[in-house]
């Protein structure tokens, strides 16, 4: 029999091979799942992972879906490293869309290059403020930030729905629950002609670089890691927990809010109740898949965007239920967390087996 034996330090090989193995295992079990649903497993996997790479439009869509995932996940990685669990990025994304969108609608039909920066600022500030609610409640009242940030997702969703049926409703929209379509100055410039890929992708890249600098090359990143691994040592070293919680929650909320504004002012183009599609939750998977490392997150968000686009393709071509892709993504997170054990432990023969072997050797 085999048993687990603790490694003296994390295995570097397994730390990075783990995610790749997890993706491979997800493909295998995904094929079993698709076969069970009566679909051709090989073809379905090909549609999800290969077809989107074969034409220009879906390649550009990778940028559209990868941008919010990457922005949010970089922010989440800060907190996750410090043991600050912001699970409500979806809510901060929604509030960012509301604030950014409302700022754009407030100056409806006014042209100017300042309109978009103002919207982005409003969105990021609102997302940060929304995330600071659980942060402050944790610091001041010891309330669990997981539950509070999650409850605020539902509140934000209902708020968006209330606003687009109320004050932000399109006056000429025949009472449909949606806002006006943003005017040109309030719409993100397109990066690649003829696609939906917008300049937000550049902001995501910038977030990756700045996030890398902050985490790997700045004391701030060190304080986060220290808090995550040895909170007592961090306190003795003079780092204040309140600061770590406020900063990591605030920054991740701000990035999620920015992603929300981008989504509203980019591919969606207006405020609608269906604007949030779960990027805030998928970004949690992306953050773990990328090993809480900005570079890894960039790759992970591209892969996750691929499954979104490929998933849409599979829905059309294979009549695969929409939810099958969430199952697929959930499986990926499971395998990833399961693989993690092998970077901290190694497989070793059980004591009985080792003893028997030693005896055999002696005889």
């Amino acid at each position: 029999m085999l048993r687990l034996e603790k490694r003296k330090e994390r295995s570097r090989v397994m730390t990075w091979a783990g995610p790749l193995l997890a993706v491979a295992l997800t493909m295998v079990f995904g094929m079993i799942l698709f076969a069970a649903l009566g679909k051709d497993p090989v073809r379905t996997i090909a549609i999800i992972f290969w077809d989107p790479l074969t034409n220009d439009f879906s390649r550009s869509e990778l940028l559209v879906k990868g941008t919010p995932l990457c922005l949010i996940a970089v922010g989440l990685a800060l907190g996750f490293r410090a043991g600050v669990w912001n699970i409500g990025a979806e809510g901060q994304f929604i509030v960012g869309a509301i604030a950014g969108g409302a700022a754009g609608l407030a100056v409806y039909d006014t042209a100017g290059v300042w309109v978009l920066p103002m919207m982005c600022l409003a969105g990021a500030a609102a997302g940060a403020a929304w995330a600071l609610i659980p942060a402050i409640l944790r610091i001041r009242f010891n309330a669990n930030e997981i539950l509070v940030s999650l409850m605020l997702v539902y509140v934000a969703g209902l708020w968006l729905s209330a606003l687009v049926t109320g004050p932000l409703r399109d006056p000429d929209g025949f009472n449909f629950p949606e806002s006006r379509i943003f005017h040109d100055s309030a719409t993100l410039p397109i990066l690649l002609e003829g696609t939906r890929a917008h300049v937000g992708a550049l902001a995501a890249l910038a977030a990756v670089v700045i996030g890398w600098l902050a985490l790997e090359r700045h004391e701030y990143g060190f304080s986060l890691k220290l808090f995550g691994q040895a909170p007592r040592a961090a306190r003795f070293a003079g780092y204040r927990e309140a600061r770590v919680v406020l900063l990591s929650m605030g920054v991740s909320g701000g990035l999620a809010g920015l992603a929300g504004t981008f989504e509203a002012a980019g591919p969606v183009g207006q405020l609608v109740p269906a604007l949030p599609v779960g990027y805030g939750f998928t970004a949690i998977i992306v953050a773990f898949l990328g090993r809480l490392h900005p570079g890894g997150i960039l790759l992970a968000s591209a892969l996750m965007a691929l499954t979104y686009i490929g998933g849409e393709g599979a829905q059309l071509e294979m009549r695969l239920p929409a939810a099958a892709i969430s199952v697929f993504q959930g499986m990926l997170l499971f395998f990833l967390l399961g693989m993690d054990v092998f970077s901290r432990y190694r497989l070793a023969p059980s004591k009985a087996l080792a003893a028997r072997r030693a005896q055999g050797g002696a005889a």
Partner: protein, 310 residues
């Protein structure tokens, strides 16, 4: 406002229906946490229980078989969590989240063909004579059997935790797993059993939603109730009867806001729908504010992985 539209007895009955799924989910999670494990996948286990109960009831025609299926489905999903966190020692917070994401997707996938079909009526226990009493009859003696089961479950868990040897061992594992291991208790096995129990309870709670409360299948129908159940456990300071009370308070909030909506209060309905979530936050803040008390009540090893060295 026309208050005569409100029927106090009907409101009380609605309150019981709203609270019962929360009782199941919260009591199950309470046992898990008493064993020192934090399973954030309650929402996922509930929704899988909801669709399993609904689908199997449709296929078999029997709500009892449906409830059993929900129990098994919830426990199966919990089994996955137990394997990950107890055998592979994965991070409990991340694994619980994965369980919720996976469960929501799985339920939506299985549930696709079942959307919009009404569920067969859930049998109500009626006691001849007693059930026909005015006021008291509908309030006390005319519920479905799961309402009574939720009471028995709460009492049973209270007895188990506070009056039985097994409960003492379970609490020991949750308070200090190294000490419990040193005296010879099998920490992983005991925790796995607690996790499975919690999953089964969450599954039944979910099925109560799709078979009694709704009664139909809607994607994402748990709407955060699994998370509210987690908050109830904190609110209850890990005490079963207080969790029961907490479930009724949260059930009461959701019924109150529904009745206000029905009365046509001049606020957009979305703002009223926010109340259960906001109340959850407020209650969490009040309960957690006293740090010393919160630390005294919470199981000391909550969320900490156990690895038997040597």
């Amino acid at each position: 406002m026309d208050m005569s539209a409100l029927n106090p007895v009907a409101i009380m009955v609605a309150l019981i229906v709203a609270a019962t799924p929360l009782v199941f989910a919260a009591i199950g999670e309470l046992v898990v946490e008493k064993a020192g494990v934090l399973n954030l996948g309650v929402e996922g286990m509930m929704i899988v229980g909801a669709i399993a109960g609904f689908a199997i009831t449709q296929e078999s025609g029997s709500t009892t078989v449906g409830i059993l299926a929900a129990l098994v489905a919830g426990a199966a999903l919990a089994g996955l969590f137990a394997f990950m966190t107890q055998v592979l020692m994965s991070n409990q917070v991340a694994t619980g989240l994965a369980l919720t994401l996976f469960g929501l997707g799985l339920a939506a996938m299985i549930g696709q063909p079942y959307a919009g079909i009404p569920s067969p009526p859930f049998p109500e226990l009626s006691i001849p004579g007693l059930s026909d009493l005015p006021v008291l009859g509908p309030l006390l003696f005319a519920h479905d059997w799961l309402v009574y089961a939720s009471l028995v479950l709460t009492g049973g868990v209270w007895w188990l935790l506070n009056r039985s040897r097994a409960g003492l061992v379970l609490r020991a594992v949750g308070e200090n797993h190294d000490a419990a291991h040193a005296i010879g208790y099998r920490v992983v096995a005991i925790r796995t059993a607690a996790i499975l129990f919690g999953g089964a309870c969450a599954g039944v709670g979910g099925a109560y939603l799709s078979l009694v409360a709704a009664p139909l299948w809607v994607e994402g129908m748990t709407a955060g109730r699994g998370w509210i159940a987690l908050a109830i456990v904190v609110f209850a300071s890990w005490k079963p009867w207080r969790a029961f009370l907490g479930a009724y308070i949260f059930g009461g909030v959701s019924i109150a806001q529904l009745n206000l909506q029905a009365l046509g209060v001049a606020i957009e309905s979305q703002y009223l729908s926010m109340t259960p979530y906001i109340v959850t936050i407020v209650v969490l803040v009040i309960i957690s504010a006293d740090k010393a008390r919160a630390r005294m009540n919470a199981p000391a090893c909550l969320g900490r992985p156990f690895f038997a060295a040597g």
